[in-house]
């Protein structure tokens, strides 16, 4: 479904991503791991168009999407959450998700109807599926960190994606919240038939959740395969056990 080939991106002299390769098949859960600064977030930003690659190719469902702007890539069915909190803090929880739903239904430029009466069911269904329905009228900026991370995911779901990218969905969460959130993510993936690409620091979570794992180090893909294959890889052992 998604294919990344020999992707390179540099900031000045520093090559943040330097030869990344990744294949994600439909319905899979794929994790990207690697030490801090390995280029995971940069890779995600390249896939979703927030950065332009210097060279290499990204294709989604057979179509070349490298270098397209984020809003075009989003409309092709790729939605994402961000590592750092990235919501609309002044809007209510409901509006946060509704904005995405409106965009997905190409209603963003509609001037003549009250938004509050539009696409309520669709928005509420998403809020219910992540368990935020009872808080839908609160101002998002006043939420706890954990709830804001969940809201992140809900906003991404507003675009009815086929392909969901989560950049450290549990960053900054307590162990309990982390378990609950990963359970939620897994359930959503199955229920909505999503293909999921995520990165995560907690190695236990990664190995128990992902179907396949891609390991990055210094911008390079050093291993890609099933959890067992990756575990056996020497380079990975060096990067993780040696380096950690």
């Amino acid at each position: 479904m998604l294919r990344v080939e020999n992707l390179i991106n540099s900031f000045g002299d520093f090559k943040a991503v330097n030869g990344a390769n990744l294949t994600v098949k439909e319905g899979e859960i794929v994790a990207v791991i690697g030490p801090n600064g390995a280029g995971k977030t940069t890779l995600f930003n390249l896939i979703t168009g927030h950065l332009r690659p210097d060279s290499g190719r990204i294709s989604f469902k057979g179509e070349d999407i490298s270098g397209l702007p984020p809003y075009t890539i989003c409309k092709k069915g790729i939605a994402r959450s961000f590592q750092l909190l990235n919501i609309f803090p002044r809007l209510t929880v409901f509006e946060n998700v509704q904005v995405a739903v409106l965009s997905q239904h190409n209603r963003s430029l509609n001037l003549f109807r009250p938004a509050r009466n539009m696409l309520i069911e669709e928005t509420n269904r998403i809020l219910e599926s992540v368990g935020l329905l009872d808080k839908s009228h609160e101002i998002a900026g006043s939420f706890s960190h954990g709830d804001q991370k969940i809201l992140e995911i809900a906003i991404a779901l507003g675009n009815e994606p086929e392909f969901l990218i989560l950049d450290e969905p549990t960053a900054g969460m307590s162990p309990e919240e982390t378990t609950a959130t990963m359970g939620l993510v897994k359930r959503l993936t199955v229920e909505q038939g999503l293909t999921l690409l995520f990165c995560e620091h907690d190695i236990d979570i990664v190995f128990s959740t992902a179907d396949r794992i891609m390991v990055m180090q210094q911008g390079k893909t050093i291993s890609e395969g099933t959890p067992d294959e990756v575990r056996q890889n020497e380079q990975v052992q060096q990067a993780y056990i040696g380096g950690d």
Binding site: Y71, V99, S108, L109, N117
Partner: protein, 323 residues
């Protein structure tokens, strides 16, 4: 009482209060001296201008630092159309806001490529170009003399007639602005203000969206320009000068720029202060400056923003007690 369109968007009490205010404003010219009728009419013009600015500044998060230029373009457009062409007068009135919107499109297209302060600076430079044009081109715009004695249809000439005309157009525009803010366009504009990066990630072409915002705001600024000409019967280059843009920006800040009605309150405060303090001393800007400094210290969310917060807290307290 509530029409279907307004359902749930506005409280019944608020609606009643608004209707009451409107009724008072309708009979006002029969009760107060002409000077005050004129003052209220000029407040309405400035209030509409400030509210159109707030659409892009408060709700769009754009550094629209030279909004006055669209006001001036609207005013000059109607003045030039009325004096230089033989078009029916109502066509002149209707087309001027579209000329302002066109100016918004052209200036916006250039500005939108940059962000934040760069956006503001290029807008001020482009706006100053328009000002220089009006200021220097004596043959066409009357230069720094401006255009005076613009012929008005009888229905809108005289203080009382122009007051009613301005009031009606003002109310219609405010309703339109309210609906625009509550529409999907409006909530997406606010989402782009809060977080442009995220907004792109959910499939919104943010720059295009903001450009539409600028065009709409310019249109309403153009309407305010037309109303100004109706009230004053003249135009002059000061209408396009950046000082005016700064003043309306201050009105937004003063009233509360994250609130809908704030800029209106700001305009009323600013013009009243200028008028009433101006009677006593020519150093009125000094006093205005002190008042502004105090307000920004003590009411950073603006006058209207402050009251809104108070009411919200009180309502929550009442709800808490009832529970």
């Amino acid at each position: 009482m509530e029409t279907l369109m307004f359902k749930g968007m506005i409280h019944k009490k608020t609606a009643l209060a608004l209707v009451a205010i409107l009724l008072v404003m309708l009979i006002l010219p029969h009760m107060i001296p002409r000077f005050y009728v004129y003052l209220i009419a000029s407040i309405l013009v400035m209030a509409l201008l400030a509210m159109s600015l707030n659409l892009v500044v408060g709700f769009g998060g754009l550094f629209q630092f030279h909004h006055g230029v669209f006001f001036g373009v609207g005013a000059y457009a109607v003045a030039l159309l009325l004096t230089k062409t033989t078009l029916p007068k109502w066509i002149c009135f209707i087309s001027a806001p579209f000329v302002a919107a066109l100016a918004g499109l052209i200036i916006g297209l250039i500005c939108i490529r940059l962000s934040k302060l760069y956006f503001a600076m290029i807008q001020i430079s482009l706006g100053s170009l328009v000002w220089a044009l009006a200021f220097r081109w004596y043959g066409f715009t009357g230069g720094d003399d401006g255009i005076h004695g613009i012929p008005m249809p009888a229905a809108v000439s005289g203080v009382s007639n122009s007051y009613y005309f301005i009031l009606i157009i003002f109310v219609l525009c405010i309703i339109a602005l309210f609906f625009i803010l509550k529409s999907p366009f409006g909530s997406t504009l606010q989402a782009a203000r809060d977080n442009a990066q995220r907004c792109e990630a959910i499939g919104v072409f943010v720059k295009r969206h903001q450009l539409f915002g600028i065009i709409i705001a310019s249109f309403f600024a153009g309407v305010a320009g037309v109303l100004f000409v109706v009230l004053e019967g003249s135009v002059f280059p000061d209408l396009l000068f950046w000082v005016l843009s700064l003043e309306i920006l201050i009105m937004c800040l003063l009233g509360g720029w994250f609130t809908f009605a704030g800029p209106m309150i700001g305009a009323a405060l600013m013009l009243s202060l200028r008028t009433f303090i101006g009677i006593h001393t020519e150093y009125w800007t000094l006093i205005l400056g002190i008042i502004l400094a105090l307000l920004i210290f003590f009411l950073p969310q603006g006058v209207w923003g402050y009251f809104q917060e108070k009411w919200k807290l009180r309502k929550e307290a009442v709800a808490e007690r009832e529970r």
